[in-house]
């Protein structure tokens, strides 16, 4: 038996023993996904235990180095772990921007001290990280950001305003893009810094969305003191990190359609509409669902293929933009169809009998998928310029 087969067998057995049954149920509510952090309220003992046993092996971050608490697995082993988790429908034990964004950036660009300070806490889900990127006047044109960080000798003094800060009201720390050289060209005067959300001068105000939820906040920064040792990478080289982080964000948002949930739509449609002569009663909806399932399957396979190509060393750059564009557009279509399948019931807003309008709120939430992390139009710009080489004079 090869080492990998042995690893698969042991992993399967370990997951069988350690993954609680309740953590193999599909993710429905926001809280079904554990985000960690000091303010997190576990929905059950199972959720807490599942995080702890996985974090103890470093399997919340399976391919990160073991010396910082990660799993230390190679690509093949990581893939096997993912497959074995999917096999039993195991939930991802921890879902966070620490894992998907700032962690990888720290591992690549951070000082040894920053890695030792932050990586183990990310792996264990002890800190909820939020992202200070967009500003009221700088969304798609992120590099124009104006939040200032003045050099005050042993520290920076930060002033400005961030917007669309995901869950800033629940987060413990922020990784934040700031302007450290106002005189330099816009891409060349940006740095990435980290600070505790409890620092004096940080004020957070949730934004109510069309879904009725407030997953995003405005964050006001008034004379916030940030220690110099919390600068990630080099001063004024923050745009390189920002781009690196955006790539990770795109992959995360693009992969929203992938989860442990059976994403196919037809079982719900059969339950709702019934079959006439073996076919869904609404033939136009039947075709819409089949076309969506085609694109969804194609997207999942493409994510797999691009990972496999990267493993084999044949990867192409800018693939994350293609995956982000395709994945979010497909996910939006999915939720349009979920509403259509349920008819009026899919648009109910309140009431116990209607799951408190979850279909409608989720549908509205997905409208943001193709805006956050760079709009679909920005992704198309990137594909056109970087992959197709269009518009060069």
């Amino acid at each position: 038996m090869s080492d990998l087969e042995q690893f698969r067998r042991e992993t399967r057995a370990w997951l069988e023993t350690n993954c609680p049954q309740s953590q193999r149920e599909p993710v429905v509510e926001f809280e079904d996904r554990c985000w960690g952090g000091t303010k997190w309220k576990f929905t059950s003992d199972d959720q807490k235990r599942w995080l702890e046993v996985m974090a103890a092996r470093g399997w919340t971050a399976p391919d990160w180095p073991a010396e910082y608490g990660g799993g230390g697995l190679n690509k093949e082993e990581t893939k096997i772990l993912r497959e074995e988790m999917q096999r039993i429908g195991a939930r991802v034990p921890l879902f966070s921007m620490g894992l998907s964004m700032i962690g990888p950036a720290l591992l690549k660009y951070g000082s040894e001290a920053l890695k030792r300070q932050h990586i183990p806490n990310i792996v264990k889900g002890k800190i909820w990280w939020c992202q200070g990127y967009s500003e009221p006047n700088y969304g798609s044109d992120l590099a124009g950001l104006q939040t200032r960080a003045e050099d005050r000798g042993d520290h920076f003094l930060v002033n400005g305003q961030k917007v669309w800060t995901s869950y800033a009201d629940r987060a413990d720390w922020m990784f934040c893009l700031v302007r450290t050289d106002p005189a330099a060209p816009k891409h060349a005067g940006i740095s990435l810094v980290l600070f505790d959300m409890n620092t004096p001068g940080v004020t957070v105000k949730p934004i109510r969305l069309i879904s009725g939820k407030s997953p995003f906040c405005e964050t006001f920064l008034d004379n916030v003191r940030v220690e110099k040792d919390q600068l990630v990478g080099e001063l004024n080289r923050g745009w390189e990190l920002a781009t690196y982080l955006l790539t990770h964000e795109r992959e995360m948002i693009g992969s929203i359609g992938q989860s442990n949930v059976d994403a196919r739509l037809y079982p719900a449609a059969i339950a709702e509409l019934g079959l006439v002569h073996g076919q869904l009663a609404d033939s136009a909806l039947r075709t819409d669902i089949a076309r969506w399932e085609m694109d969804h399957r194609a997207f999942e396979l493409t994510a797999e293929r691009i990972t496999d190509e990267a493993t084999a060393g044949h990867g192409v750059g800018a693939a994350s933009s293609m995956l982000k564009y395709a994945g979010t557009e497909i996910n939006k279509r999915r939720h349009e169809l979920l509403v259509a399948i349920q008819g009026q019931r899919g648009l109910v807003w309140e009431g116990d009998a209607y799951d408190h309008g979850i279909t409608a709120t989720q549908w509205l939430r997905t409208k943001g998928n193709s805006i956050e992390g760079g709009t679909s139009e920005i992704q198309l710009n990137i594909i056109a310029k970087r992959i197709l080489g269009l518009g060069r004079e």
């Binding site: 196919r264 037809y266 449609a269 059969i270 079959l275 073996g278 076919q279 869904l280 039947r286 075709t287 669902i289 089949a290 076309r291 399932e293 085609m294 694109d295 399957r297 194609a298 997207f299 396979l301 493409t302 797999e304 293929r305 496999d308 190509e309 493993t311 084999a312 044949h314 293609m322 564009y325 395709a326 139009e377 992704q379 198309l380 710009n381 594909i383 056109a384 310029k385 992959i387 197709l388 080489g389 269009l390 518009g391 060069r392 004079e393």
Partner: protein, 375 residues
């Protein structure tokens, strides 16, 4: 299994591209059309393909083939889609070989496969009976007569039907629900072949069978029901048509991007306009999605997976949609010059539509997919 080609498959793909670009580019199809060539392909090109071993890619080693599988063959199909190469590759080396492998007896395989490998025998699958793919309509009848059989009926739009040495004909056995697949010489008495010149300038034919005598050893599998084999044959055909359409879409897209990067209007490259950039980038994304479905389907065929019917329909449906988009955008983005015969763009559009209609367009396959899933 990883969704990437292995080293040998990559080498075959590179070799196929090199050979086809050098020996059978779009200019060859154009010349065949202009000359109104009665055969519809260049025999010397086919001979060279045979020497490269392509006629035997799907043939088991025992019968002298390479047994290299559908992923390997699919790379050749894809590359032939880039160059729009007309040859017996699809009808003979994909469908003919697969029919014998799936439904033939040991004796039939031993007698016919080596001849195909050697380039001495070409085949054509006579399957559909109307202009739209419908595997449930088989009015062609095979009835018992003495020690053999007699075939009566008609088949429509048979690829290579006018040029192949022999036809593989699907028929219903008289007074039963059973299907059979029989081998009939094109020149046999009672067989009438009428060539149909299609928009893509490839070979198609309407074929009639009037009291055609069929020896009992010409019935594949000795009379076992061929329904399952025919269904799998259509899946194989669609997988390779999807691969061909993938190659076609990539090539016509590359030519379009090249044009956007050279053509100037208002003093600037037209590729600098966002109105065109976004449409091109969207098309790029669609082609990437198609690539994955095609490779997965070819892998499923080699693995004998239960998912073959579902994947073949998804791949063909997506291929039809993407190739339609790619060719429509190619003409539109080339503007007036895209409408001219002088440019090759029109050849891609015409082949895309014929290849999509063969064995079912995207509408057919979306419906079939839904039925296979139980809705």
């Amino acid at each position: 299994m990883a969704l990437v080609l292995d080293e040998e498959q990559r080498m075959l793909k590179d070799a196929a591209r090199e050979f086809l670009t050098a020996n059978a580019p779009v200019a060859q199809l154009r010349a065949l059309r202009d000359e109104r060539d009665p055969l519809g392909y260049r025999p010397e090109t086919w001979r060279a393909m045979v020497e490269l071993g392509w006629s035997g890619v799907l043939v088991p080693e025992a019968q002298g083939g390479l047994d290299f599988g559908h992923v390997g063959m699919g790379q050749i199909s894809e590359e032939a889609g880039r160059t729009l190469t007309a040859s017996p590759l699809f009808a003979t080396a994909v469908l003919g070989v697969s029919a014998l492998v799936l439904a033939g007896t040991g004796a039939q395989r031993a007698a016919l496969l080596p001849a195909i490998v050697a380039g001495e025998l070409t085949l054509a699958l006579a399957f559909d009976e109307g202009p739209r793919h419908d595997p449930n309509v088989v009015a062609t009848r095979l009835r018992k007569s003495g020690s053999g059989w007699v075939l009566d009926g008609a088949k429509a739009f048979v690829p290579d039907g006018h040029s192949a040495d022999c036809l593989l004909v699907s028929a219903r056995i008289a007074d039963s629900a059973q299907l059979a697949l029989v081998l009939v010489e094109r020149a046999a008495p009672g067989v009438t072949v009428e060539r149909v010149v299609m928009a893509d300038q490839r070979n198609s034919a309407n074929v009639r069978f009037a009291g055609v005598a069929v020896a009992s050893d010409a019935v594949l599998g000795g009379g076992e029901d061929a329904g399952a084999a025919l269904s799998r044959l259509a899946d194989i055909g669609n997988a390779h048509l999807a691969a061909e359409l993938l190659g076609l879409a990539q090539e016509v897209f590359q030519r379009t991007v090249d044009y956007l990067n050279t053509r100037k209007q208002f003093g600037v490259l037209i590729g600098s306009y966002q109105g065109l950039q976004h449409r091109a980038a969207h098309l790029y994304s669609e082609i990437e999605l198609l690539k994955s479905l095609v490779l997965k389907t070819l892998q499923a065929l080699d693995a004998g997976s239960d998912e073959v019917p579902v994947l073949a329909s998804l791949a063909k449906a997506k291929a039809g949609e993407v190739a339609t988009l790619a060719t429509n955008e190619a003409v539109q983005m080339h503007g007036g010059v895209g409408m001219t015969d002088e440019l090759d763009i029109g050849f891609f559009m015409k082949r895309a539509r014929v290849a999509e209609q063969l064995y079912g367009d995207h509408r057919y396959h979306l419906q079939r997919y839904a039925s296979l899933c139980g809705y």
